[in-house]
Amino acid sequence: MIARGRNPSLSIGISIVVAIVLLAITGPIFFRTDPLAIDLANTLAAPSRAHPFGCDALGRDVLARVLWGARLSLSISVVVVTASLLVGSAIGGAAALAGSRIDNLVMRGVDIVLAFPGILLAIALAAILGPGLVDLAIALTAMGWTGYARIVRGELLTLREREYVLAAETLGATRSRLLIRHLMPAVAGPLAVQATFGVGGIIGAEAALSFLGLGALPPTPSWGNMLDAGRAFLLVAPHLTTAPGLAIGLSILGFNLLGDGIAQKIGHRA
């Protein structure tokens, strides 16, 4: 029995993630300033009591835009990670269970998708599909599913040889019972770790694509396009980049720590 050690990653990670989720949900309810309201009298205004994070080039409130950006960022990430998880698990599971010929074919396919470095595949797809949130989610999912496929396939292939699985099989467990009772719980841990890191990764990727003009289109507030718009005013109004930049950084930090923490907790190498 391993003694229950301290796990600061887990507790700090959970705190940051919960705080961000709460802010995204309740922030726009309590702070009711319209993120799209243009007020040219307040162009590039510095932070003040009425506008705690200041105003952008069109006099829009930066705090309101960061809070609405959190909603966009988190919902896209959750949708993309869920879709990637489902698609990846289905493909990886099918590859592991369908025999070596199909397995080989599928894994070559995964290799080819992985040959597109980082967010390049998402950029290429977003370029052809055009900007917009649905297209953005499709592009990010097309890039993201491979990690889950690899994990599910790898875990299933090793698990199939494990004694307790062989024992259950010998005892006459049906295929679906085997999958649900014996295989899925063992795969769930590594998948949870991957998905947690995945949310952070997709938050970063979404911001990068929006920064490049391939994601959320202005005037929709997204952390990525806020950073892009703020770059022109680095000297006169650094708060325009600081607010969304810190928001992205903190969110990714939170999910990274949480991922580390979960990995430590379940004794899985991250």
């Binding site: 470095p117 390049l120 290429a124 052809i128 990068a208 930049g245 950084g249 990274n256």
Partner: protein
């Protein structure tokens, strides 16, 4: 080693073919008409037909695919519709800038990661470890699109030490390289720490210690070399993040490389150029990955056998 090299080169062929095919499929099969996109919704139908014919898009898909692969084989990537010049020529012009940036980013990463990883790994749980790993987790979390502007504010606008944007000599390279290399430095430092901790418990380290080497000397003389193999693997795996990082970094610092060429081509709806750039990025990654495998095989002879 030569046999291993040949085997690796041969394995490259199907992946390269797959990459070329997927790139073609993205441009040609994904819904959306590139010609209408290029000419605008209000274009005269006759112009659309003429353009489609000029680009060969009215031919059967299989025929297009065939001539695309044929062109690739001789280095012909078609003509850019926005520059009116061969795509291959444009790519050859911009490629060195991207490689320069990527190499500089990698160098920065290694220069930061090694001291940090060694400090952290030689005394896990100590103050140095905590500090180094704290830096690492922050380094991984700060995205390029924020780190770049942050460095610009600090070093270009406030301190006025370094130029803001462009590519004109060594000083211009520093901020982009830092922007690009920091995340990788953090990942490498974490990896190096982990493998050093694992290596410390091995028999040959005990031997080194018992023959009278100090802990630090044993770690650097014997441990580091063995810890390196896993670091090389990580460097290979992270090349993708580094390459796609150049894309973002080039946009932040107006660096005239392949990434800016690609994003510009997307904006101009210049699909032959988009296709060429995407393909070049992916192929570069594939080749670099193979090169890392070879380095790995050179460091660790056991790899060559299986």
């Amino acid at each position: 080693m030569i046999e291993y090299l040949a085997r690796r080169l041969l394995a490259l062929v199907p992946v390269a073919l797959g990459v070329a095919t997927l790139t073609f499929a993205i441009i040609h099969l994904v819904p959306g008409d590139p010609v209408v996109a290029m000419l605008g919704e209000s274009a005269a139908p006759a112009d659309v037909v003429a353009m489609r014919h000029q680009m060969g898009l009215d031919r059967p898909l299989l025929g297009q695919y065939g001539s695309y692969l044929g062109g690739l084989a001789v280095g012909d990537l078609g003509e850019s519709t926005s520059y009116r010049r061969p795509v291959a020529q444009l790519i050859v012009e911009r490629f060195p800038a991207t490689i320069e940036l990527a190499a500089a980013g990698m160098l920065v990463a290694i220069l930061i990661a090694f001291p940090l990883g060694i400090i952290a790994g030689s005394n896990p749980g100590g103050a140095g470890d905590l500090g180094a790993m704290g830096f690492a987790i922050i380094g991984i979390s700060v995205p390029h699109i924020y780190l770049g502007p942050l460095l610009m504010i600090l070093f270009s606008l406030d301190l006025r030490w370094l130029p803001l944007t462009g590519r004109d000599g060594f000083a211009h390279l520093i901020l982009p390289a830092l922007t690009l290399g920091t995340a990788l430095a953090a990942i490498l430092a974490r990896m190096l720490r982990q493998s050093l901790i694992r290596v410390r418990e091995s028999d040959y380290m005990r031997t080194a210690r018992s023959k009278g080497l100090s802990e630090r000397a044993a770690l650097i003389r014997h441990g580091l070399r063995n810890a390196l193999t896993s670091v090389v693997t990580i460097i290979g795996l992270q090349m993708g993040a580094l390459l796609s990082g150049t894309l973002i970094t080039e946009m932040i610092f107006s660096w005239p490389g392949l990434g800016r060429l690609l994003i510009g081509a997307i904006g101009a709806r210049d699909y032959p150029l988009v296709e060429g750039c995407v393909l070049t990025f992916a192929m570069t990654y594939v080749v670099v990955n193979m090169a890392t495998d070879l380095v790995y095989a050179a460091i660790d002879p056991r790899v060559r056998i299986s």
